[in-house]
């Protein structure tokens, strides 16, 4: 009996076709990659945030020292930069994509498909590559595109990358250019799922186009908007590339210093991996808190209870 069982359990066909085994087999790659590439690094990051790495191969337990160090000018500045940046991007992402989606969804528009793809294509471009073009456009020389625009209004050229507010503007512009398209696609697909008859009955009641937009389109888009809002907040606080493309080696006056940039600077430029890990953990906390508050505000948790 025993021998038989062993033999059958090693029959590869039996294993593959077994109802009990198959599910584990299918999830194995995911479980493995989760354990190796997510769980282990996460635990290791938490552990490292309590360690001081001294050069190579030496570490020492320092307790909450790295977390105490976070109360400094640079980190506060980085949180402020991320918050301002996220707020600016949010304002754009909560308005422009909807309007664009409504426009490219309109039957009155000719060449609709061309416009749709034109708005979407920037989302396919890597931010690093787009950044090269934007860096040239924001050049502080007279020949830079945005300085040329200033000249049209009779203004002097400015050094865009040397001022705080212009620096934020540069990063927001790059992100807006890149992300509006994908968010427009989300809105577009949501728009197309709104039943036509709701609009028809509104028309019978004599609703204007604006009222239809405000009282039908916007509420029906709410789930999509929450989705865009959540992702934009996460992306905003995790932002790195938009800063990196403009200020590669150093960020003058911490203009482009975001939380992740600070993490990168500490871990990889100053070899302070323990402190970098602590920044990472705090960033996780910040994003989680904002999203919890925001999802609660949108009533995402209330629904489940009801």
């Amino acid at each position: 009996m025993q021998a038989k069982q062993v033999r059958t359990s090693w029959n590869p066909k039996r294993i593959l076709y077994s109802r009990k085994m198959a599910p584990y087999l299918f999830v194995a790659p995911f479980v493995a990659s989760f354990l190796i590439f997510f769980l282990y690094p996460s635990i290791e990051t938490i552990r490292m945030s309590f360690m001081s790495m001294e050069g190579f191969g030496k570490e020492r337990f320092v307790g909450f020292y790295h977390y105490e160090r976070l109360f400094n000018y640079h980190f506060g500045h980085a949180i402020l930069t991320n918050t301002v940046y996220t707020a600016c991007v949010l304002v754009i992402m909560m308005t422009v994509p909807i309007v664009l989606a409504v426009v490219v969804n309109s039957r009155l528009l000719k060449l609709r498909n061309m416009f749709r793809s034109a708005f979407f294509i920037p989302s396919l471009v890597s931010a690093l590559i787009a950044g090269i073009a934007f860096r040239l456009m924001f050049s502080d020389m007279d020949s830079g595109l945005f300085n040329q625009i200033l000249h049209l209004f009779g203004r002097e050229s400015i050094a865009w990358n040397m001022g705080y507010s212009t620096g934020i503007l540069m990063m927001v512009t790059l992100d807006a250019w890149k992300s509006i398209g994908i968010n427009m696609v989300y809105c577009l697909s949501a728009l197309q799922s709104i039943p036509e008859d709701i609009y028809e009955s509104a028309e019978i009641d004599g609703a204007s186009a604006l009222r239809k937009f405000w009282f039908i389109t916007v509420p029906m888009l709410k789930p999509t908007l929450i989705y865009i809002f959540t992702l934009t907040v996460i992306a905003g606080y995790r932002m790195f590339t938009e800063s990196y493309v403009y200020w590669v080696d150093s960020t003058p006056g911490d203009i482009g210093l975001t939380i992740v940039r600070y993490l990168y600077q500490m871990s990889f430029q100053r070899n302070d991996m323990g402190f970098g890990s602590a920044i990472g953990i705090v960033l996780l906390g910040i994003i989680m808190m904002i999203n919890l508050v925001q999802l609660r505000g949108f009533g995402m948790f209330g629904k489940e209870k009801d």
Binding site: V27, F56, K58, P252, G253, F268, N271
Partner: protein, 455 residues
């Protein structure tokens, strides 16, 4: 039942792990291949036939490519039976440092030979040093080398990096612009102190309306060289933070006064090594800059309109007796402990950067001043340069360098990288761009931040 489930899970994990193990296996095979090859090379040496070249992976600064390629040629001429082949990879300076740091932290993926910028050198001098000691190629030749350059890249008497150049500072004057103010070359020759320098600067600036000199606001020149010239630095030899001591503050305040007087301006683009500055300088907007020898090639390549108009002179001083030139910046080349052919790599570095032929190559290919003083009087180095009004850098600067030239004091200290980055990112910006802090305030704040770092 539970046991079955657990075994099932274990089996699935095993499957996943074996997949990764297989992919790792490829690497192992490659290593075995190499090991199998080495006896071969030993055999072929005996019958004096050229063996397969040893491949050395080098991460280098792209501007230094020719130095390494020429060095490999010299090495292969000297060792026809045991040749090397370079696989050169280029990265931007910061990225190269970050990649190297990760490769050394994780113990895999580092190149055999690597260029490290001085700003980040200290990161590699902590804990168990991952570079190979180079004493046996450095010490025999040290008597005719600029020794302060080697001290810079050493720790506790062990040399870990081979310098690329002396990087001696000099003052580059645009004589075309200066001539427009009626100032003659003899007057420039007579400049010895900063007071004399500024006096002539006032004349030139008033007559031409152009800038007399330019400061970096995203980097540390000319502040750092000025400090070094006075024997000062951010961190002293004992590891104390000296960024906010009186002398350091006085020099930044002096720079600030010159800036307020309108004799110095912010360099367009924030430093002296970017396209915006090159264009501006090329158009003749600036009369003088304090830069190291390695700025020659940039002038020649990127500012062609200044050809025949520029001259080089030793740097003015605050008090008599101070050095008229200092070493600025630097890119040491090191061998990592992941290198499999350490002896060959050392020998190659010797040929590329220390030998007389290699040193001449450094000048001829990159226009850098080699650390090997033997060749400074060689005819190929002292040849007049058309770009610099028919003068030679070495003729002019040799008297100020052969007696020794100061380098930064303690760039191997753990705090040095942070200090330099704070100078670049914060102090210069706060003092010269936004002017939100006085030199004293900015330096005090930065110094306190560096002090707060625990050892």
């Amino acid at each position: 039942m539970k046991v079955k489930k657990l075994t099932a899970l274990a089996v699935s994990l095993l499957l996943a792990v074996s997949t990764t193990a297989c992919s790792g296996g490829d690497g192992d095979v490659a290593i075995n291949d190499d090991a199998a090859k080495s006896p071969d090379t030993a055999e072929t040496e005996e019958i004096t036939e050229p063996a397969d070249p040893i491949e050395l992976t080098c991460w280098v600064n792209e501007a230094h490519t020719d130095i390494f390629e020429y060095g490999a040629e010299l090495y292969n001429e000297a060792h026809p039976n045991n040749p090397i082949e370079l696989s050169l990879e280029f990265y931007p300076v910061t990225e190269m440092h970050n990649k190297l740091l990760i490769a050394l932290q994780s113990g895999v993926g580092a190149p055999d030979i690597v260029d490290v910028n001085l700003t980040w050198w200290s990161n590699f001098m902590q804990g168990d040093i991952q570079f190979v000691p180079l004493n046996d190629i450095v010490e025999p030749d040290l008597d005719h080398m600029v020794s302060s350059r080697f001290e810079l890249y050493s720790k506790d008497g062990t040399y870990y990096g081979i310098p690329t150049h002396v990087g001696a500072t000099c003052m580059y004057y645009n004589m075309d612009l200066i001539g427009q103010a009626g100032v003659t070359i003899e007057e420039i020759d007579a400049i010895e102190t900063w007071d004399q320098y500024l006096e002539i600067g006032r004349k030139v600036a008033d007559a031409t309306g152009k800038a007399w000199t330019a400061y970096e606001t995203l980097n540390q020149r000319p502040y750092w060289p000025l400090l070094n010239g006075c024997g000062l630095d951010y961190i002293d030899a004992d590891g104390n933070v000296t960024m906010d001591n009186e002398e350091n503050i006085a020099i930044l305040e002096w720079m600030y006064d010159v800036f307020q007087d309108g004799l110095a301006v912010e360099a367009p683009g924030g430093d002296l090594i970017n396209e915006n500055f090159y264009n501006w300088m090329n158009e003749g907007n600036c009369a003088s800059v304090l830069m190291p020898s390695w700025y020659m090639i940039r002038l020649m390549d990127y500012m062609p309109d200044l050809s025949g108009k520029m001259i080089m002179r030793p740097v003015p001083v605050f008090e008599e007796g101070q050095p008229r030139s200092t070493c600025v910046g630097g890119t040491p080349t090191a061998i990592t402990n992941q290198c499999k052919y350490v002896e060959e790599a050392k020998e190659f570095l010797y040929w590329a950067k220390l030998s007389d032929e290699g040193s001449i190559g450094i000048w001829e290919t990159c226009k850098f001043d080699p650390v090997n003083l033997n060749v400074w009087t060689d005819a190929r180095l002292t040849e007049p340069m058309d770009y610099f009004s028919g003068e030679s850098f070495f003729d002019i600067m040799m008297p100020y360098i052969e007696g020794g030239i100061p380098s930064p004091v303690n760039p191997s200290d753990a705090k040095s990288t942070t200090a330099q980055e704070l100078m670049r990112n914060n102090v210069m910006y706060q003092v010269f761009v936004t002017q939100e802090k006085s030199p004293k305030q900015a330096l005090t704040d930065a110094a306190n931040e560096v002090r707060d770092l625990k050892d």
